[in-house]
């Protein structure tokens, strides 16, 4: 008896904070994200416009590569996002596995196609950049290959999600694949340090002094922030649609739809 009480106390202590459980409610998530959407969309548009104009028109050309280096302003943010989105997808998948939280399953499912697009964009811009600077569209070095594997992992997650009819099974299977694939992320990041690669080491990190002057670096920072804002906006929009579809029989969705039709 004493032991049971002690156990219950120990369990109580480990409870997650309130917002964690609230976010798990589709309705709460839908209402909260509705308030965030305009801010996210606005800041994405603002950051990307300023960043792009600054990057393409005002930032100086590179002393060796000339203007072709400007593709960095798309390449680096999309490569950043491809990896961050993967991590987010895997974490959401793990939360879905452990807590059986519907919203986490929705987030994991909706993040996959967006992340795949960023990975694809990073590979394509990298190839376009590689031809004039290195002299080859594609080289099988560790950085490029691990990035290609990331794209395949995304495609695998998308395929699993759409191949399995049962939603819970699909979420479980794709979450496991996503978690297994997390091991690829440190490999991508450190590939340029661990092995001889054609790809140069990172120019843009949040922890170290940038390898370029401020007039080149600030527009890159704006682009990275803009890409994050754009991604969050896209993800929330997708998730809201998915939630409406999954909860279409719930009372609050019916109320919402009938209200919006009257307006």
């Amino acid at each position: 008896m004493v032991k049971v009480v002690a156990n219950a106390k120990a369990l109580k202590k480990q409870k997650m904070p309130q917002w964690f459980y609230q976010l798990g409610s589709p309705r709460w998530f839908y209402e909260l994200s509705g308030k965030w959407l305009p801010w996210l969309g606005g800041s994405a548009a603002l950051l990307l416009t300023i960043g792009l104009v600054w990057a393409l028109l005002f930032a100086p050309a590179d002393y060796q590569q000339g203007n072709s280096f400007r593709i960095i302003y798309l390449h680096v943010p999309s490569a950043f996002l491809a990896q961050s989105v993967y991590l987010l997808m895997a974490i959401a998948g793990a939360i879905g596995l452990i807590w059986k939280m519907k919203v986490a399953e929705v987030v994991a499912k909706c993040a996959a196609p967006i992340g795949a697009s960023y990975a694809f964009l990073a590979l394509v811009t990298g190839a376009i950049w590689g031809k004039p600077t290195w002299g080859a569209w594609w080289v099988w070095d560790a950085r490029l290959t691990s990035m290609l594997i990331l794209l395949f992992l995304y495609l695998g997650v998308i395929a699993l999600n759409s191949a399995i009819g049962d939603r819970q099974m699909a979420a479980k299977a794709s979450a496991i694949l996503a978690i297994v694939g997390v091991i690829n992320l440190p490999i991508i990041k450190y590939s340029v340090d661990w092995w001889n690669t054609l790809h140069q080491p990172a120019s843009f990190t949040l922890t170290e002094k940038p390898a370029m002057p401020a007039e080149m670096w600030v527009p890159l920072l704006l682009m990275v922030l803009g890409f994050y804002a754009l991604f969050t906006w896209t993800l929330l929009t997708r998730c809201r649609t998915e939630i409406l579809e999954r909860e279409r029989r719930a009372g609050w969705v019916c109320d919402l739809l009938s209200n919006s039709q009257i307006k």
Binding site: L11, Q65, I98, I183
Partner: protein, 151 residues
Amino acid sequence: MNLKRKHRMWAVVALLLGVSVAVGLALYALQQNINLFYSPSQIADHQAPDDTRIRAGGMVVEHSLQRSGDSLMVHFALTDFQKTIEVEYTGILPDLFREGQGVVALGKMNSKGVFVADQVLAKHDEKYMPPEVAAALKASGKLPPQPSAEH
């Protein structure tokens, strides 16, 4: 967190750890093969296979570039600051090919100990700067001189 969730969480952690160990061991075993290129020292010490196509990567030695007068043939020396090998290449060099900069050449060693390349890739570093800054650095002697390859 109830007990069931805790078990599921440990299962996820165990999955991640297991895969990390497996991939870590595989990468450790493949360590040499993942490298894109061999360094000149490795080639000079015959650590690289002799009769197959390999990639050689290193710095182009300053003032070593020689162009033949009547063809696209170029000669240059590749170094990792320990050993140096001679490279011969016929074709157009990439824009970023410079003496004093890194390149990766794909080809074979011939019997005379010259590396015959059929593809040359330019490697560049992670540093970017505007031309004026580069000129100022060069004037103050902080930037190693980088004579551009004669186009």
